[in-house]
């Protein structure tokens, strides 16, 4: 703590004695953050296993997968996946990844761990609520897992759960998998709402003396805006989920239209609207995309500045761009529904607003490159993942410009072009943000570095791997090859343009990339116990407050002494300063007149 010029003394909470209240039902934001990250790691490997099954089924539909027949005797008799099983894998892959990985780790995980320390607080504003958020998320995860093993198997309606397929009760599609799915999502909404409330109050209320909003690290800004998005979006999904559950179980008809015939059976409901679900779902769904990607943007800005030894280019504009992306995210949901028969006038408005998001996104990209320009770049593994994030964000963003136009979208809708787009921009880019964050904060969290060589090998295999997987999908989409088809071999019109060979290539690339993730898993576990010890409080020579506390941080972060903040978050390469960086808690006196450590 010798970097701290001045501090404000506050009262300290004693560290709990019992193992359970310290490490399991913990009130400590750092423990809760790690719990979220661990949950996401479990979920991401389940989600990846599902994607592997999806790819296997597409290319070798008749092939038996070892052990699968024992695990799912109905969905995969003798290990051969049925088309329904393929759809349920698709649904669960999307749900697992979007909710349990992309929403939990960046915000609940890293946000929880880092945000209070970065703003100079000894914990979140409501620690009990924080604990409740995590354990509700955990219950939600358990409910989602239940869907695999109930009669009838996991739901097949996709992560978007479009009715009427998702709304039909057991008489038509047997089983309660969809109900478990809805229960899981409803719990998740509640947990996320509580979490968002906590993040917002913490950021507004618990900042250290001198830490104005415009001095916040960009990571904090993105977590803050993400929390606002979550607060306003998850309630809508919760409401929609309640309506869907009532439609399924209590005979209402919010989403089920009249006169629907399925399997030669007339469904006895009156005049609901499946499109209503789409509106409610995407009103949540589009902000959700930004909930997944914004924290990655924050981490990227933070890391690019740190390892270029330069201030973030255009800090204020970055803040406005974050806010603009968050705000615009609420008025573009219709671009997911151009094919729903909406009025062309509405489609035009949604399209123009969608194009508007290109402006703050381009500003951010420009500023990231501006940050790198002329910097003394240190290519550590967090830096590699951040640069990778920028690359994936640009690639994925460009295809979004195509899809945001109704006329082009008529052609691309529900093709592999869309699959390529959203995987690159929201899936893989956000995951790269997480890898960047993990390798960056790992030494602070655990007092050991992740293995640099393994991280770099992991980076290159993953970076090239995801381009090999999703790059060709753009071409598939232009054929246009539809998505969500369980069967692509032996169908003439799907074989056009060599699509079978491309699918084969994608599956091989996916197998290699997924295998490469075992390097990450090994690195993670190995580094926890055997990694190089981090004896320095500030190994990356960074500027924000988390690097001013001991490694790993003690129970209440600052030992009751909250540092006073004197400067913005990215004071690198200050002219005439003794070092090439000034921490936020360094006074001018320390920066200019005394050498460090005097």
């Amino acid at each position: 703590m010798n970097e701290v010029a001045e501090y404000v003394e506050i009262h300290r909470h004693p560290e709990p004695k019992s193992f359970i209240s310290r490490w399991i039902f913990s009130l400590d934001h750092k423990v809760i953050g790690i719990q979220y990250v661990m949950l996401a790691v479990v979920a991401v490997f389940i989600g990846m296993a599902l994607s592997l099954l999806i790819r296997l089924r597409l290319v070798w539909p008749e092939q038996a997968v070892p052990l699968l027949g024992d695990l799912f005797p109905v969905g995969a008799p003798d290990g051969v996946m049925t088309p329904e099983f393929y759809l349920s894998m698709l649904t669960m892959h999307g749900t697992m990844m979007v909710f349990m990985v992309l929403t939990t780790a960046p915000q609940g995980g890293f946000g929880n761990y880092v945000l209070p320390i970065q703003i100079g607080a000894n914990d979140m504003a409501f620690p009990r609520l924080n604990m409740l958020s995590f354990w509700t998320t955990f219950l939600s995860f358990c409910a989602l897992m239940m869907a695999f093993f109930v009669e009838g198997g996991a739901p097949i309606s996709g992560w978007t759960a479009y009715p009427p397929l998702s709304a039909l009760d057991a008489a038509v599609i047997a089983g309660t998998g969809q109900d478990w799915w809805i229960i899981s999502i409803a719990l998740f909404c509640v947990a996320s709402l509580l979490g968002a409330l906590n993040f917002i109050v913490t950021t507004l209320q618990l900042r250290a003396k001198g830490l104005t909003m415009m001095r916040l690290p960009l990571t904090v800004w993105t977590w803050f805006v993400t929390a606002i998005l979550g607060l306003l979006a998850f309630g809508v999904l919760l409401a929609a989920g309640v309506l869907l559950l009532l439609d399924r179980n209590l005979g209402t008809s919010f989403f089920i239209p009249a006169g629907l015939v399925i399997n030669d059976q007339l469904i006895d409901r009156s005049g609901g609207s499946p499109i209503l679900w789409q509106h409610l779902f995407w009103f949540f769904g589009h902000p959700e995309v930004y909930i997944a990607i914004l924290p990655g943007m924050g981490v990227t800005s933070h890391i690019l500045a740190t390892f270029s030894r330069k201030p973030v280019f255009g800090y204020k504009v970055m803040v406005y761009a974050i806010a603009a992306i968050g705000g615009l995210g609420f008025v573009v949901w219709g671009h997911h529904m151009f094919m729903s028969g909406m009025s062309p006038y509405s489609a035009f408005v949604f399209s123009v607003l969608t194009m508007c998001i290109g402006v703050p996104s381009a500003i951010k990209t420009f500023n990231w490159i501006g940050t790198l320009w002329g910097g003394k770049i240190r290519f550590t593994s967090p830096m590699l993942f951040s640069v990778g994030f920028v690359s994936l964000f640009v690639t994925g963003g460009l295809s979004g410009i195509f899809l945001g136009q109704p006329t082009v979208d008529l052609f691309f809708h529900d093709t592999y072009f869309v699959v390529a787009h959203f995987h690159l921009i929201m899936g893989v880019a956000a995951i790269f943000g997480m890898f960047a964050g993990l390798t960056f904060w790992f030494p602070k969290m655990f007092g050991r570095f992740m293995h640099e060589g393994l991280s770099k090998v992991h980076f290159w295999l993953t970076f090239l791997g995801v381009y090999a997987i999703f790059g060709p999908m753009h071409y598939l989409g232009m054929l246009p090859h539809p998505r969500r088809y369980a069967e692509i071999t032996g169908v003439d019109y799907l074989a056009a343009g060599g699509s079978a060979e491309i699918h084969y290539f994608i599956t091989i690339a996916a197998m290699i990339t997924i295998t490469a993730q075992l390097i990450f898993l090994f690195n993670l576990v190995w580094s926890l116990f055997k990694g190089k010890v981090c004896s320095d409080d500030n190994p990356w020579e960074a500027t924000t407050l988390e690097w001013a506390v001991p490694t790993p941080p003690p129970y209440d972060n600052f030992a009751g002494r909250i540092p006073t903040v004197y400067r913005g978050a990215y004071d690198f390469s200050l002219p005439k300063a003794k070092r090439d960086y000034a921490m936020q808690c360094n006074s001018d006196d320390m920066v200019y007149r005394q050498a460090a450590g005097d």
Binding site: V8, E9, I10, H11, H13, I119, G120, A121, A125, F126, L193, A196, L197, I200, V201, L204, Q205, L206, R207, A208, K209, G210, L211, T212, M213, M214, R215, L231, L232, A233, F234, G235, V236, L238, A239, A240, V242, L243, L246, L250, G251, T252, S253, F254, P257, A258, S270, G271, G272, S273, L276, H279, L280, F283, I562, T564, V565, Y566, S587, D588
Partner: protein, 228 residues
């Protein structure tokens, strides 16, 4: 550039106090002077921080709840206009009693809040307890309303209008139950002679939430009455 050590001349309207270090002035730090108890009972500062924090929490929570009911409302507006099967229902007349109970409870919790500052424990407890009772009676009154509709053969799935009636009233009742929990906690806090800070934070945050529940109910009643 200056080479003299003389203080700079005083310009009219300014003082020659040394400039304060620029800390940007931001943030609302939890400023506890050294040597205070965990409960922060010895001074006004810790209380102020905790009270603001809890009240802000209540407001942010309200924003989230508003979105849930906004979603229900827009679903109702869309559903009522999209096909010809919407048949208006007559609202049970006991809803007016519910409304009166809830409005009265807003008055009583405000009364309790006013007594908080004067330190009149007896009155504070009494008004909180009365609010709690009114809240419970509201739930009972709503229950009677649901039974009255069901006795007429109007169930959840009878018609989209009845679906939305049950949905909105039940969702509101669930939130009232949350308020009742919070009120019970406030009563317990006052009863167990908790320190001023904890009391004030609990009672004031609960009061904000409770008033909002009152306002939300009036809104729902108007919606159900006029959007038939």
């Amino acid at each position: 550039m200056s080479t003299t050590l003389a203080p700079p001349p005083v310009v009219e309207g300014e003082t020659n106090e040394p400039p304060r270090p620029d800390t940007g002035g931001g943030g609302f730090p939890p400023v506890w002077p050294p040597g205070h108890d965990d409960d922060g009972s010895r001074g006004p500062d810790p209380g102020a921080e905790a009270v603001v924090r809890y009240k802000l929490g209540a407001w942010v929570g309200i924003a989230g709840i508003v979105m849930v009911f906004a979603a229900f409302t827009s679903a109702m507006v869309v559903r009522s206009g999209i096909s010809g099967d919407w048949a208006p229902i007559d609202l049970p007349r006991i809803l007016w009693l519910s409304t009166a109970l809830l409005l009265a409870s807003s008055y009583t919790i405000e009364k309790a809040k006013r007594l908080l500052r004067s330190g009149a424990d007896e009155g504070l407890r009494r008004w909180l307890a009365v609010t709690l009772a009114l809240g419970a009676l509201f739930i009972v009154s709503q229950w009677i309303g649901w039974r009255a509709l069901a006795d007429k053969g109007v169930y959840l799935a009878s018609n989209p209008s009845s679906s939305f009636f049950y949905l909105l009233t039940a969702a509101h009742a669930a939130h009232i139950l949350g308020g009742i929990l919070s009120l019970s906690y406030a009563v317990f806090r006052v009863w167990s002679s908790a320190v001023w800070v904890t009391r004030q934070a609990t009672v004031e945050a609960t009061a904000i939430y409770w008033h909002f529940m009152d306002g939300l109910w009036v809104y729902l009643l108007l919606l159900l009455t006029f959007w038939r």
